[in-house]
Subunit: 200 residues, 2 copies
DNA sequence: TTACCCATGTAACCCGTTACATGATTTT
DNA sequence: AAAATCATGTAACGGGTTACATGGGTAA
């Protein structure tokens, strides 16, 4: 579970409530991580039980009391320990690749449509990342006055962008290869024939 | 759940037992998907209940009977339907990026070590992919006599490789940027100072 | 008046991994 | 003698998503 440590990480910025942590997530690590409130609240409880955060309650009227969490010394130690710990390489677990893997089951034209659509989706996400998210990070660094963090935040966004670009390139190359296979021969790649309709 | 459809996909190659499906997984989609037997067996049961596969039992002595699963017409329909269905872009959910995101909490030197180690791991995986896995696919296509599948199988491996290469490049660029930040000034990036030991 | 913001949570469910259970046969 | 292969499964646990529950204040 990395969520515990992700929360500890955010709490190094400043003490926050669960609700605020969620907002921070949504506006910062959104491009490579996500967390729901229903997961954040119990996790904060666990962090408190382990002594990695302290809680203090701010009483409110006409809405639930705020529970403000602050990282402790042992919390910082744990975060540092975790960061330094070797991290196994993450594997690509993308259902779209399964679809491509079994692409021989349908006509090449259909696969071309799929690849184009997927590429366009990736392009949208990339464009969003290069504009909105980039700006969000710039603002965040400025607003929170954390110049040292800016570089690292930018690096993670860069990785996400590099991934999207690699994906888009791959879609293009794949489409080109499929188109070539269409031109080369009509026997090895079915287009709109019986075999095709069988799997659709 | 994509496992159902991944299994259907493999069963288009030929009828198999759960055990054989696991072997096929390990030697083909391994680079971007994985499945345990403990998950495969119940899933096959579910596929049978949905009428997407047929089961026939081959009695054996001195070991459990083989249950051979074969994809049905409705199974092929379902597979085609699923493949054509739009697939949301997969998100990068890599704990290593969280570590980088909060990299400002420890000395730049330590982050350089982390990046180098991660890069080397990715290089190992990539090397394995470019040699062993590439060969496996070549053999698989030949052995199963499925020339049309070869192209698609190669494409998925190419995507996995492209991802690893992008990752490696990103590690290199990140290390270079961090090194520059070390040279530029000693104030904005702590190296071995109090702040550093605090989070370690 | 409808919808969103604040602020907390619990419960159910889904998917995946790990551990446990059985047990003959074959290879090292 | 030990380990891997064949061949089936169940149970427990972990982590994440969705749905459910509450309810006042504020903006469209």
């Amino acid at each position: 579970m990395s969520l515990k440590h992700a929360l500890l990480g955010v709490l190094t910025v400043r003490p926050m409530t669960g609700y605020e942590l969620k907002q921070f997530f949504d506006s910062s690590v959104q491009h490579f991580w996500n967390a729901e409130l229903s997961q954040i609240y119990p996790t904060l409880k666990a962090l408190e039980e382990q002594g990695w955060v302290d809680k203090h309650v701010e009483v409110q009227e006409s809405r639930p009391n705020k529970k403000i969490y602050e990282i402790t010394g042992s919390g910082r130690d744990e975060l540092g320990r975790w960061i330094r710990n070797p991290q196994p390489t993450a594997d690509l677990r993308d259902p779209f690749l399964i679809k491509v893997f079994f692409g021989a089951n349908l006509p090449v034209e259909d696969m071309l449509v799929l690849l184009r659509r997927q590429m366009e989706e990736e392009q949208k996400v990339l464009a969003f990342s290069e504009t909105v998210l980039t700006e969000k990070i710039r603002e965040g660094v400025k607003y929170l006055d954390l110049p040292r963090h800016g570089l690292f935040w930018t690096l993670t966004l860069e990785m996400a962008n590099a991934y999207r670009r690699a994906y888009i390139d791959w879609c293009e190359r794949s489409m080109r290869l499929l188109e070539e296979s269409l031109l080369e021969d009509g026997t090895s790649a079915p287009h709109g024939d019986r075999d095709a309709s069988r799997a659709g």
